[in-house]
Amino acid sequence: MHGLVAVDLHVIWQQVFHPDSVFFRTLWATVYISIIAQTAGVLLGLLAALARVSRFAPLRWISGVYVWVFRGTPVLVQIFYVYFAFSWPTLHFGFWTVPDAAIAGIVALSINEGAYMREIIRAGIDSVDKGQMEAAKSVGMTYGLAMRRIILPQAARVIVPPLGNEFNNMMKTTSLVYTIGVFEMFAFAEQNYSQFFIADYFLAIAVWYLLLTTIWTFIQAYIERRLSESERGEELSFRERVQAAWNPMTSWARGGGG
């Protein structure tokens, strides 16, 4: 028995309820990296999904290789490779500086996420009845117009639950970019730990991660409710949707990571 490590309530209280500006910088880093990487990942995944069903064979092939490589290699390897193999600029937006490592991290996370989103989006598109595309075409819509106005809006309903889980994971996965020197929440905790030797810093940022992912659960439930308003049948209330998003069993069944 190595003995129970005494929980330093003071540190936890401090970090969770009265965090300082340094901590907020790292919290902001975690948030903006997650949001940008997930959004870009969805767009990449959409492109890859459309490429997958293209009549143009090289596009199908590229999409296949892309997903195979980026789902088959560790995201940490991808982060390192993207950062060190290419040079990235540091961007300044007034008070907000985005260091080159953060940009590299966002790029790597986006490309990685796109590979997973492709399958989710493809499943979403496939879930739409084939008759919908036929009806859209029969009134004179092109494939692109039909996709935009008829297919994708319906696919969205199937895509949002697993997408929600992906974003949940993304917020936690961003912690990996500390290895290329991005000062985000985990780096903050580690730095404080190595100085003050109190492991509760990790506990404190765990609370903050939990806060972020919980807020997202509510947002996800809201989005799902709005999307299903026009659907007859299983009209879950807002509360039921939040519970459903929480329950690992149903989220697994919906194809999410839980």
Binding site: H2, V5, F84, S87, Y178, I180, G181, Y193, F197
Partner: protein
């Protein structure tokens, strides 16, 4: 039941051993050693710092590894290397995940408050820049407005942060500090052209300059020359025992042999 019994006995034996073994924090006494020396002595090492410690062919290797083995042998024991990140290496020692740290650790007043040091080498800091020194770097102060890569939790990072405080007071542009949990990432950063300078102990700097052909050079003199020490928990009798072992290794020449093998002879402890 007959077949089950040996299995149960084996399970009981294994779980007892596991409960007692832990991470090397326990004192295992065997008859042939001096009192209280653990066997094996577990050393925490951050293997991102060649030639002192790095991973070669999948295993930790370097002069710190050889020195750890020599110290253990000198004490009648054996050494076990536990790879640990440098940013959490002192907490790991304090939490008894190892018996000692041997990881190119410079002895500083702050660190001495946390651990006991047995000095064994004298090493300073070098700045490493591109060959030809295009950014004309001479000292840490000359890094103002430029970028530098270091490993997190090192004296080099502390030096850069201190310099930035001074530069801020002087109203001069700050140094853009890129710090990484692994020193190899900091070295990779300068090799990828992401920073103007890399700061680390003279040992890895000279190693990188030597092994990357003609691409890099040092800038300015070696600074902050100070002893490096093997760290142990304050109050742990192993500390003074390691002091003795190191002294013995210098006297019998084994230390110099190890250092010469790794081309680090110049870093022998002064006054030995």
């Amino acid at each position: 039941m007959k077949r089950l019994f040996p299995l149960l006995a084996l399970a009981a034996l294994v779980s007892t051993l596991a409960a007692c073994g832990g991470g090397g924090g326990s004192n295992d006494t065997t008859s042939t050693q001096a009192s209280n020396i653990p066997n094996p002595i577990v050393f925490c090492v951050d293997t991102t710092y060649p030639p002192a410690e790095s991973i070669v062919n999948g295993k930790p290797a370097g002069y710190d590894i050889d020195i750890a083995n020599a110290i253990a042998k000198q004490l009648g024991s054996t050494a076990q290397i536990k790879v640990t990140g440098f940013t959490v290496i002192i907490p790991a020692l304090k939490q008894k995940k190892c018996n000692a740290i041997i990881s190119s650790m410079t002895i500083t007043p702050e660190r001495s408050k946390q651990v006991h040091f047995s000095p064994y080498l004298t090493v300073g800091t070098f700045l490493m820049v591109k060959k030809g020194n295009p950014s004309h770097i001479t000292t840490v102060a000359s890094l103002s407005g430029k970028s530098a890569a270091v490993q997190a939790s090192t004296t080099q990072l502390a030096a850069l942060e201190a310099e930035n405080k001074t530069l801020q007071k002087q109203g001069k542009p700050l140094i853009t500090i890129k710090s990484y949990p692994a020193d190899t990432s900091a070295a990779a950063a300068i090799q990828a052209g992401k920073v103007d300078a890399y700061l680390a102990d003279a040992t890895p700097v000279l190693y990188y300059i030597r092994t990357t052909g003609d691409k890099f050079q040092t800038a300015g003199p070696q600074v902050g020359i100070a002893p490096e020490g093997v760290a142990t928990r304050i109050g742990d009798p192993l500390g003074p025992q390691i002091n003795n072992a190191i002294q013995a290794l210098y006297l019998n020449g084994k230390m110099k042999t190890i250092l010469a093998k790794w081309k680090a002879a110049q870093f022998a402890l002064k006054n030995q």
